[in-house]
Symmetry: C2
Subunit: 138 residues, 2 copies
DNA sequence: TAACCTTGGTTACTTTTAATTACTATGGTG
DNA sequence: CACCATAGTAATTAAAAGTAACCAAGGTTA
């Protein structure tokens, strides 16, 4: 199956260098990483927890605009993936602390590279957008 | 405004070290990067173009599962952001080539770090998921 | 003892956004 | 005149996110 497709690809491309294919299964690391943290809130929560463990309502007030429902849901997902650890302290009222696991700290490193790149080039991107929009509208 | 919120935050957290807040404006690099390439196809297209410039239908066949419409749309968005350059060759039939811009090559580097991290830890994540699901269902 | 407070949720419902599918256009070629 | 590559557009469906109301435990207050 794979071999056949590769062959077809090579034939189609003729004398060009061979190019990768991106398969639609759960072995594709790109699709995996996008599915895991490509949603609206995951990266924000991971970065919030870089500052140290934090509790539900504090996170809610630090991540401006997140609803209680989405915070719960995204924290659950991150916990399930193994990026976040949830600890319940049976005090009154109950206290729940969230912190990065070792894996959570692990993924934050490349994410940080990405975000600092984005920060550095934010103006360039806005510039490109403007040029594009001006060109298209004319 | 910001100052006030910061103050409130510090008061709320008392003797803990100060924590960052993540504001809801377009200056937040995290929200920006997620909005740009957090969708289903952007990262795949960027990575496909790392192998060199390519044309529409070749991309379509290499990125398994993408529809014609989503490829068009995502390429347009990437072009608008300045990651991809589109060149039309007025041959017959028309040939359209897509390639990474300098900025596109720039963002792919941190993305590559992220993807290789994800590739290395894919099994760990699947393991975590299984443990979580077993724990929850019991 | 009843009403109320807190934190940290859940549930049902609605809105918004993303993605898919199918159809149309263009401007040549064989 | 059916075909190609490269789109655009419209209709539909699916998925993500938001809103608001409610719940639970256990303490406080009246």
């Amino acid at each position: 199956m794979r071999k056949e497709e590769k062959k077809r690809c090579v034939v189609a491309e003729k004398n060009k260098t061979e190019r990768r294919k991106f398969y639609n299964d759960d072995e594709c690391p790109i699709r995996n990483v996008v599915a895991q943290i490509g949603d609206k809130w995951s990266m924000l929560i991971l970065f919030a927890l870089v500052d140290g463990s934090d509790r539900f309502n504090s996170l809610k007030s630090r991540i401006i605009g997140i609803s209680q429902r989405m915070l719960t849901q995204t924290l659950r997902d991150l916990e399930r993936e193994g990026y976040v650890k949830r600890t319940v302290f049976p005090e009154v009222p109950v206290r729940v602390e969230y912190e990065l696991t070792e894996m959570g700290s692990g993924i934050v490193k490349p994410l940080y590279q990405l975000v600092s790149w984005a920060g550095e080039h934010h103006d360039d991107i806005k510039h490109c957008r403007k040029i594009y929009d001006d060109r298209v509208s004319s």
